[in-house]
């Protein structure tokens, strides 16, 4: 792990980001914009599941329509997040909060596409299960956002 972090931190791209004060904040802005896209689309789906918005649209339709936007946001976050990690890989590897966040991201993504989205687009209606799933989804993504913010503020 340490060897990998050393290698990341000494790649040409990591050196280029560190060579000026502005690249890191610019990457960070895109990382936050990606977060807005992911959390925003997940929130829309879950507000619909709770029956608060878009009553005339089927849940399955909303889930399917939002998927490309959620995936775009995740793509932006993966690229920008990897770049930020590489810039200070050694510091991040030793950061407990960073480890927690990566665990939460993996859990949230796996839960969203492995369970939540499947329950939402399922042919047979399971309202209670779906509402529970929406609550779990929101808690997971909110934890990811808070952990990410914590890394930014504390480092």
């Amino acid at each position: 792990m340490t060897a990998f972090a050393e290698w990341c931190q000494h790649t040409a791209i990591a050196e280029a980001i560190r060579s000026a004060p502005w690249p890191f904040p610019v990457i960070e802005i895109f990382h936050i914009a990606g977060m807005v896209l992911v959390f925003g689309t997940v929130l829309i789906l879950n507000l619909r599941v709770f029956g608060l918005i878009l009553h005339s649209e089927p849940v399955s339709q909303i889930a399917q329509d939002l998927t490309p936007f959620t995936l775009t946001g995740l793509g932006v976050q993966l690229v920008s997040g990897s770049l930020m990690f590489m810039t200070s890989a050694i510091k991040f590897t030793g950061n407990v909060l960073f480890g927690i966040k990566i665990g939460l991201v993996i859990a949230a993504v796996a839960y969203h596409f492995g369970i939540h989205r499947k329950v939402a687009i399922a042919k047979e209606a399971q309202p209670n299960r779906l509402r529970l799933s929406a609550a779990v989804s929101l808690v997971l993504w909110a934890s990811v956002v808070l952990a990410g913010l914590g890394i930014g503020v504390l480092s």
Binding site: P21, P25, E28, I29, I32, A33, V36
Partner: protein, 89 residues
């Protein structure tokens, strides 16, 4: 956001007032508000005519695009304030 933002400003009002990113952010926030106002007073008045259309009229789409651009700029300026101000001195 208005409440929490006002509290943050109150803490560092002097330093923020002269900060270029803070000024830009406030400008973009006002423009975003104007954009909503113009949208509601113009093309949205005829919404019943295009409510069920697959694609909204060009003026509505322009308002949407401008809104996204402005809010991205507000996010960027907000983050830049954090980098360009020395807190707690």
């Amino acid at each position: 956001m208005f409440v929490s933002g006002s509290m943050l400003v109150a803490m560092e009002a002097g330093r923020l007032y002269s900060n270029i990113f803070f000024r830009m952010k406030i400008l973009f926030l006002i423009l975003a508000g104007v954009n909503v106002l113009v949208f509601h007073r113009t093309v949205y008045r005829s919404v019943s005519g295009w409510d069920q259309e697959r694609v909204a009229p060009v003026r509505a789409r322009m308002a949407g695009g401008l809104s996204l651009l402005l809010w991205f700029s507000i996010l960027a300026c907000g983050r830049a304030i954090g980098y360009s101000i020395d807190y707690g001195e």
